[in-house]
């Protein structure tokens, strides 16, 4: 169960390459990569639940959306809000929501857990969809992006694409290494034990409910980080980001990429979004591009059939071998 060394090198290399990307000065691709990295953060936060705690949540979009709406509602109209307090505040909203709903959903198991997480996410969706304070079904704009200022010095100007790109990249790396650290701890080992055999963990004296709740809250807060960053990038939020499609998309990224690996879901986010871009490119595929979801579906089925460990399993067989030797 030790961290995979070759995977680590690979990840560092990728982070390094990504850091060079803005020098290519491609607005389109800088935006696309920013979007992908945000989804990678989102997918990693879900992997903590699905891949490491054995909890398949089908309502993760709730956190993404809640944090986005939190940012918008905290921002005064036409004025910027400071990232220093709005980000922790948005993540706290998510953590609180996870804490309260977690007390209920974590009493259910298996298929019921999936249903109840979905139900809570749908409740949040309809709260924002059917009431006016979040702009209803049209959503709501953020006119000024949050500021990052230390002692009068502007660290990053998030109106600039490259600055946002680097902020997201830094957060993605931070989330990866934070989760790696947490999962290597005694707490993380307990989560793995719970995923493997919760009954036995109880018999050994672990209060498993509290462990699961802690994992659920951390996952929700990190999911909120992704939603907060997305709200900055798009400059508006609408109920779509709370929809069950969005929960399904991130779940597919985790499973397709390889759950329980952290880097897998990152790979999944890249593969999913890039493939979506490719398959829906009309200049490339003409009329077929309209039916990109069909092709995407086939791809997902192929991965599920032939790569049970996801794309991560394909990328680093070596890491798997190391993991088996270390475990």
């Amino acid at each position: 169960m030790r961290p995979h060394r070759s995977a680590d090198l690979f990840i560092l290399l990728m982070f390094g390459l990504l850091a060079l990307f803005p020098f290519a000065e491609s607005t389109f691709y800088t935006q696309l990569l920013t979007k992908i990295m945000i989804m990678a953060i989102f997918a990693m936060s879900l992997d903590l639940l699905v891949g490491y705690t054995g909890l398949v949540s089908f309502g993760h979009a709730a956190y993404f959306g809640l944090a986005g709406y939190a940012l918008v509602l905290m921002s005064p109209q036409y004025e910027s809000v400071s990232l220093w307090w709005s980000l922790p505040a948005a993540m706290s909203v998510c953590a609180l929501f996870a804490l309260i709903t977690g007390m209920l959903v974590l009493r259910t198991r298996g298929i019921y857990f999936i249903m109840v997480t979905l139900a809570f996410a749908q409740m949040v969706f309809f709260v924002f969809h059917d009431t006016k304070f979040g702009g209803g079904s049209d959503g709501i704009f953020i006119y000024a992006k949050p500021t990052l200022v230390i002692g009068g010095f502007e660290l990053l100007n998030l109106e600039k694409l490259n600055h946002l790109f680097y902020l997201v990249l830094i957060f993605m790396a931070a989330v990866y290494f934070l989760l790696r650290r947490v999962l290597a701890s005694t707490f993380g080992r307990a989560l793995l034990g719970i995923k493997e055999n919760e009954h036995r963990m109880s018999a050994l004296g672990f209060p498993t409910f509290r462990y699961k709740l802690a994992s659920y809250v951390l996952s929700g807060a990190l999911g909120g980080l992704a939603g907060y960053l997305a709200a900055i990038q798009y400059g508006f939020v609408n109920p779509e980001i709370l929809s069950w499609h969005h929960s399904g998309t991130v779940l597919m990224m985790v499973i397709m990429g390889g759950m329980g690996t952290l880097y897998g879901p990152m790979v999944g986010a890249f593969a999913f979004v890039l493939l979506q871009e490719l398959l829906s490119d009309q200049s490339l595929l003409g009329q077929v591009a309209k039916h990109w979801q069909l092709a995407m579906g086939i791809f997902v089925i192929l991965v599920a059939l032939y790569l049970p460990r996801g794309l991560a399993g394909l990328l680093s067989r070596k890491a798997k071998a190391e993991a088996a030797a270390d475990a």
Binding site: G188, A190, S202
Partner: protein, 253 residues
């Protein structure tokens, strides 16, 4: 007379119309192996589940050091110092032997909630795990994945994990099930060694093993206690003789 560390008073468990455990009173003492025997369906495993908190009792009391613990959740009961092994091997198959034991030991330490310190860095946890492995005779298998162990070794691991939680009471549910002669012999010796500083409740069908290690015997039939006493008393009991068709099965099994 010494106080029992764990005792039940008229403990019962009903599943709908079926009374699986019927007003059972049993005492466990430190330094003693108390074997519970009886035919399949007698309620032995259900009794274990009531003591370990896997099932809540319908009525009656479970007293641990004089305090009623009936109905507490299994993790609380485990932390009080009552460990159990399972009839059906219940281990973490993808983890190594050491990691299984380390995880068990971890449940006893205040470090369990440390989020940033790498798990392998806690020497006290590692020491507990190593000790438990050594006691159960698994040190040579330390780095093997549990799934790759033989059936007998998995049974040993089951006990080692239990020991790593430093229990004072051990509830062993058929530790010899499916073991070969040599493995059985080793397990019997292990139970004898553990008896010195634990109170052990042993559920077992292997009568040779039971009579080799038990200080006390309780015979259960249909959820009720048929007879309880020293092995000699139980062997001589007319009720037991009748239940076991002249004692043949009981002694020779």
């Amino acid at each position: 007379m010494r106080d029992a560390i764990l005792r039940t008073e008229k403990l019962s468990k009903r599943f709908g119309g079926l009374t699986a455990v019927d007003t059972v009173s049993i005492d466990l003492y430190m330094g003693e192996v108390h074997a519970v025997i009886g035919p399949n369906g007698a309620g032995k495993s259900t009794l274990t589940n009531l003591l370990s908190g896997d099932l809540p009792p319908s009525s009656g009391a479970v007293l641990f050091e004089g305090k009623d613990i009936a109905g507490l959740r299994s993790d609380r009961i485990s932390r009080l110092g009552i460990g159990r092994s399972y009839q059906k091997t219940n281990i973490f198959l993808p983890f190594t032997v050491f990691e299984n034991c380390r995880l068990a030991a971890q449940s006893r330490t205040p470090h369990a909630w440390r989020v940033f310190n790498g798990a392998p860095g806690f020497s006290d946890i590692n020491r507990l795990a190593e000790e438990a492995m050594a006691t159960a005779g698994l040190t040579p298998r330390r780095d093997m994945v549990a799934a790759a162990l033989s059936h007998g070794e998995q049974r040993q691991l089951e006990i080692a994990m239990c020991l790593a939680t430093r229990p004072r009471v051990l509830l062993l549910d058929e530790p010899l099930a499916g073991m070969g002669p040599q493995e059985s012999q080793d397990m019997v010796e292990l139970i004898q060694r553990l008896a010195a500083d634990h109170a052990i409740m042993l559920i077992e069908h292997d009568m040779d093993a039971v009579f080799a290690v038990a200080h006390k015997l309780t015979v259960m039939v249909n959820g009720e206690v048929l007879e309880s006493g020293t092995p000699e008393e139980v062997r001589a009991s007319p009720a037991v003789q009748t239940a076991y068709l002249g004692g043949e099965d009981l002694l020779d099994d």
